[in-house]
Amino acid sequence: MLPALPALRDLLPRGGLARGSVLAVPEFGLLCLALAAGASAAGAWCGIAGVPEAGLAAAVGTGLDVERTLLVPDPGPAWPQVVASLLDGCELVLLRPPVTAPVLLRRRLEAVLRRAGGVLLVAGDWPGAQVHLRVITQRWTGLGDGHGRVRACCAEVTADGRGEASLTRTRWLWLPAEDGGVAVADPVDIPVTRTPPGLRAVSAG
């Protein structure tokens, strides 16, 4: 079990990232980086493959240690071999596959993953993933009508999956909070104005 950030523990079965398991987030974003940050802060090496636009300054804010981060921005057509090699060295690999992996390839990589005892965090589609997480709603604070700064984001994150993760859990988080970290949002902070026509729940994470 790799540790997760305290604010994310309620969302994950047994409060961490189970070794040998796959976690999937539909789209790359700060949630992916925050999921990796807990393990990285605890000393794990973290490989990021196929995500050239990973905002590492934000990741550092959530707790990711760049000293123990390897980036493979463009793994190319040989990405399964790259991921398998990275899993040999890194406890956690964050991957955005260039295409949805066919089922045989997924089985093979999952076998490598179990043997290596690592965690695969997929930013994209991975039907067999043990846990699926996504951001349902999010709202940035700090911006006005021509003034202000983007400060923090209140996000509703949901997690479901197979086995012990099959129970759907939903939490409101500051992702990120004003200090750049991740925190559980107070109920009073949660944007209640969900009725205005402009604000609607979107599925994209």
Binding site: W45, G55, L71, G76, L87, W140, C153
Partner: protein, 487 residues
């Protein structure tokens, strides 16, 4: 036991060829330079690291070679004989410092032999060698007239002031000389006291230290090539070690029978064993199999394997990671290097956080295995840096976008940062339009205006859209670009 480098002064041997230098040079410069190249080649046979101080004069640290050849005098005679074979006359001076050794070589003259200051000093019978014994350098220098200094104006001035010899000069307090004559005075005062201005800068020889093995007939299997690589690596290490050298990186070049070539640099730092080098050759061949160019396998097998040492440096023992730098475990290094073997050295990066005004500058990437240094200083204030949250998504290349107002007209920014209208809609590339719910800006940024190539002027905005996301947008040359996204 090895003598302590601090307590014992350096012994410098200078070889001077009067026909090639000085006032009585008998050859034209290009011809002399060519001949001098061959002289250095001959001297390099005795000591691998020789500094050419000027045309016709070269110097090297004599302690090691002298011990090996049985004394400074013996070494000097051998060098003179070797240089004489090229048809060049030479003189040799040995002393405790470069300056004194240069003077000694100039003084060593068989036609007009001068007495060494120290009567015990063994002047060669031929007179072509002048050895100032260890500790005798101060006395030798003290007796030299100030006219030996390169700065003739200063020498003339010193003489008129009654300082006829270097000994007179050295007797003065350093601070007085410095305050009267400035830097030049301080420098000659150091010389007069037998202290050199700089250490000898001898470069390692430009020998071809690479090793190669040809496979005839071409080898279709990787295994025998990897096996041969181990032997080659042993040869490479032996060749480097024989010259007291090591390499920072080693280049592995594989040529296939059909003429295709694969070349990769691997970090070496003198730490790899022959087996380690062979492993890297294996990875390089494996990587080639995993990602063949244009989906084709090279036909005909491997024709040639070559190992080339890159950045050859003196072997001074290796340095471990500095404080604060996470020590990369073997397991991680192996994984990273296997990926490098597949995709190339530049494909595996380690991030370094640094300074900078733009989000894309604040993290730089360094290929795995190279030294990690931030490109822009972290401590500098970077005014104009956007405060607040950092974006989770930073596009390596900004994405084209369009921002329009309520009436559907493109929002423009004037040179004085006046907005044509409040932004209302954002269209990024071919994505469906998003409604802008909140925004801030424009924040002008005019960077590096002093450098036409790097100068950038733009206005930046933050836009929040109705899907709950926020964006960092810039207007440059009246075009909207999305640099980063917040989600």
């Amino acid at each position: 036991m090895r003598p302590n480098a601090d307590s014992e002064p350096q012994r410098i041997m200078v070889v001077r060829c009067p026909p090639l230098c000085g006032p009585d040079a008998s050859l034209a410069e290009p011809q002399a330079a060519r001949l001098f190249e061959r002289v250095i080649g001959a001297v390099t046979g005795f000591c691998p690291s020789v500094e050419a101080t000027e045309l016709g004069v070269c110097a090297f640290g004599a302690r090691g070679p002298a011990r090996y050849f049985g004394g400074e005098g013996v070494l000097a005679s051998k060098i003179i004989a070797a240089v004489a074979e090229l048809g060049v006359e030479s003189r040799v001076g040995v002393a405790d410092g470069l300056f004194a050794a240069l003077l000694a070589a100039r003084r060593a003259d068989p036609v007009d032999p001068v007495d060494p200051v120290d009567p015990a000093g063994p002047a060669d019978s031929a007179g072509a060698i002048l050895v100032i014994p260890p500790g005798g350098t101060a006395g030798f220098l003290a007796a030299q007239p100030v006219s030996v200094l390169a700065d003739q104006d200063l020498a003339g001035l010193l003489k008129r002031l009654g300082l006829g010899t270097l000994g007179d000069l050295a007797a003065l307090p350093a601070s007085d000389v410095a305050s009267r004559f400035g830097d030049a005075g301080e420098a000659v005062h150091r010389l007069a006291r037998g202290l050199d201005l700089r250490p000898l800068a001898a470069h390692p020889p430009a020998h071809d230290l690479s090793v190669a093995r040809e496979f005839d007939p071409p080898e279709p299997l990787a295994e025998p090539v990897v096996f041969a690589a181990k032997t080659l690596a042993e040869q490479l290490h032996a060749g480097l070690a024989a010259r007291g050298l090591t390499c920072v990186r080693v280049q592995v070049r594989v040529t296939w029978a059909d003429g295709e070539e694969s070349s990769r640099l691997w970090r070496h730092d003198g730490l790899l064993t022959a087996g380690g080098v062979a492993d890297r050759v294996r990875w390089q061949l494996d990587g080639r199999r995993a990602a063949p160019p244009d989906g084709q396998h090279a036909q005909g097998g491997i024709g040639m394997l070559r190992l080339v040492p890159d950045q050859v440096v003196r072997a001074t023992g290796h340095q471990l990671a500095l404080w604060g730098e996470a020590v990369v475990s073997d397991r991680v290094a192996r994984a990273a290097m296997r990926v490098q073997a597949m995709l190339g050295h530049e494909a595996v990066l380690r991030p370094v956080t640094g300074g900078g005004r733009n989000v894309s500058e604040q993290v730089s990437h360094v290929p795995f295995g190279e030294k990690r240094e931030p490109r822009l200083a972290v401590g500098a204030p970077w005014p104009g840096r956007i405060a607040g949250a950092a974006p989770g998504v930073v596009y390596p290349a900004a994405r084209e976008a369009e921002v329009t107002d309520d009436a559907g007209r493109l929002v423009t920014v004037t040179g004085r940062c006046v907005l044509s209208a409040a932004p209302a809609r954002l269209v990024i590339g071919r994505e469906p339009p998003r409604r802008i719910t909140a925004w801030a800006g424009p924040w002008p940024l005019s960077e590096r205006w002093w450098d036409a190539a790097a100068a950038r002027r733009r206005a930046r905005f933050q836009l929040a859209t109705d899907d709950g996301r926020a964006w960092l947008a810039v207007v440059r040359d009246s075009r909207w670009l999305i640099e980063a996204g917040y989600w």
